[in-house]
Amino acid sequence: MISGAVSIRNVAKAFGAFKALDDVSLDIEPGEFLTLLGPSGSGKTTLLNVIAGFERPDAGSLLVDGVEFITRPPHKRDLGMVFQNYALFPHMDVFNNVAYPLKLRRVGNSAIRERVKQALDVVQMAHLSARRVTELSGGQKQRVALARAIVFEPKLLLMDEPLSALDKNLREHMQIELKRLHDRLGMTTVYVTHDQQEALTMSDRVAVLKSGRIVQLDTPKTIYDRPNCRFVASFMGETRMLPVKKSGSGYEFAGRQLKLAQPPSAGAEQWLVVRPERLGWHGHDERDNRIEGLVVDVVYRGDSHSISLKLPGDHEISIRHTPVQDHPLPEAGQTLTLWLTPQASVLVEEAGS
């Protein structure tokens, strides 16, 4: 079994006064699919480039299977990487692109042919092996880039927003394919993206980065259901943050005491995380939290109606009303009452704990 444990310790990198990486430490398990998620400028690509050896950090340590990599030149790291715009060599055809890492490792010609074919088979591109890369579509380039990254069986596969140049349908299709490929090949994968959906779909764990720091590192489910701060909560899904007031030992929203399943942290300033799909059409005042809003407009969308709802504090949220809903379709100008169960009612603070 190939290993590929990565241990990042206190890595820091500044560009002038801008801290791209601020004392980042992170352990990646062998075989894990870990996603670095964050907005642009959060340091996720810089961290990936530090692992690949393209960026020299100011401080820190990078252990791969217990070996110090921090000063090792990139060509001696034996890591596969898929670049954002694929970076397929335009002067080589598909076969030679995938064969390149093997040629550099002085693999024999017949073995090269066999392994290139295997790698291209994995990404279903074997039939286009003689094509020029300039004649490939975006999705095909993506697959060839992936084949080139896995053909020499690296312990670690790095991916820098590999799906960002594809259209939406293909992107969703490739997410599932990459996930399956990872399950099959089992190599440790570090995946960089700014797309929360991608991160949640594919990862074993997600590291959410902000201003060069990891603010939360957890499974996709925990990240989504139990964000540890306002930033992480608002980065996931279509989320609105409603400010709540401290009242006695608990918190109140719009004059009503909130029923919470999880005890909130001690912070004075807290927000209620409201996600459209967590809002129920039915509930009970004794059991659930009541959220009232004003219907702004109702738009027909084929499979459902999209209802824009203005919540207290000028927050607008868009919810769906499907035909199977046993609740009458509201009209613009009406007041609509929706419900949050205590389990779905999550409070977050400004800063992570």
């Binding site: 690949a52 050896g53 393209f54 030149p73 990139p74 060509h75 001696k76 790291r77 034996d78 890591l79 596969g80 990487m81 670049f83 715009n85 970076a87 397929l88 060599f89 335009p90 002067h91 080589m92 055809d93 030679n96 390149y100 890492p101 550099l104 490792r105 080139r148 990254a149 020499f152």
Partner: protein, 298 residues
């Protein structure tokens, strides 16, 4: 019969076809002045030149001017023109490639400042630069004096009025023609390809040879072709620095006119130069394409 039966045409088809014709005519009209200019200053003089080459000194129609080109004196001068041009191009590549590479790797702003030093000689007349080389290279010139003072040589080196001087002067004039297109093509190479090569396991030397060099082959080919072709017809510098010892094709053309007043002979020489230049450009284009793809498979 109704009007609809008579008019079987799709709606507005005639009108739309007419509109397309008008648009094409307008586009043609816009390019007409440029085409006329090209015809006037390029095609007409060249046709006249080709016409002149068909008459001998007495004004009779003959192939004498072309038959003369096969004499040893002309064949030799033709071969030495090719040799000098090839040598100058080769030296320009050796000197220019590293410069272009360095410039392409520097930050854009620094590179732009340094580019000024390459473009600067362009603003100085070739005549001035050539005379400057004469001063530097002559028997008691700056270079020979220094070398003697340093004790490296006891006798003056023959640096000018020969092939050496010609090549030095021509390289100086030609370098920017090689560096500029090469630099432009190197700038266009996305650095991510070099990262990708490193990630595949290529050492810096390997990624240079197997990725950067093939990707810059087109620019190198363009620069080399430009340099070589300009060398083929270069007159001033070889005439001044060669001291009459370097028989370039261009000097033959000048001699035919100024010494022998034989316009027919000069025209035939010019037509031959043009044809050879065309053939060489075409051959180089093929060679560059092959170089680019063969390096890719290496």
């Amino acid at each position: 019969m109704t009007a609809a039966d008579i008019d079987q045409q799709p709606l507005n088809a005639g009108l739309l076809a007419g509109d397309e014709r008008r648009q094409r005519a307008a586009m043609f009209g816009l390019s007409l002045p440029a085409m006329l200019l090209v015809a006037l200053v390029l095609l007409v003089p060249f046709s006249w030149l080709a016409w002149l080459s068909l008459f001998d000194a007495s004004g009779a129609l003959s192939s004498e001017n072309y038959a003369r080109l096969l004499r040893p004196a002309y064949v030799n001068s033709f071969l030495s023109t090719l040799q000098v041009s090839a040598a100058v191009t080769a030296i320009c590549i050796l000197l220019g490639y590293p410069v272009a590479y360095l410039l392409s790797q520097l930050p854009q702003r620094v590179a732009q400042v340094l580019l000024v030093f390459i473009i600067l000689p362009f603003w100085t007349s070739v005549l001035v630069r050539t005379y400057a080389w004469l001063v530097l290279l002559q028997r008691e010139g700056v270079i020979n004096t220094w070398l003697k003072q340093l004790g490296l040589i006891s006798e003056s080196l023959p640096l000018v009025n020969n092939l050496t001087g010609t090549i030095i002067g021509m390289v100086h004039v030609m370098l920017p023609f090689l560096i500029l297109p090469l630099y432009a093509s190197m700038r266009a190479i996305d650095p991510v390809y070099l990262r990708a090569a490193a990630n595949c396991g290529a050492s810096p030397a390997q990624s240079f040879r197997q990725v950067f060099l093939p990707l810059s082959a087109r620019g190198l080919g363009a620069g080399a072709a430009l340099t070589f072709v300009l060398c083929l017809g270069f007159y001033l510098t070889p005439a001044l620095l060669g001291g009459g010892r370097v028989a370039m094709w261009s000097t033959q053309i000048a001699d035919a006119v100024s010494k022998f007043a034989n316009w027919g002979a000069a025209s035939a020489l010019s037509v031959a130069l043009l044809v050879v230049t065309g053939i060489i450009l075409w051959a180089m284009k093929l060679a560059v394409r092959r170089l680019g793809s063969s390096l890719g498979e290496g």
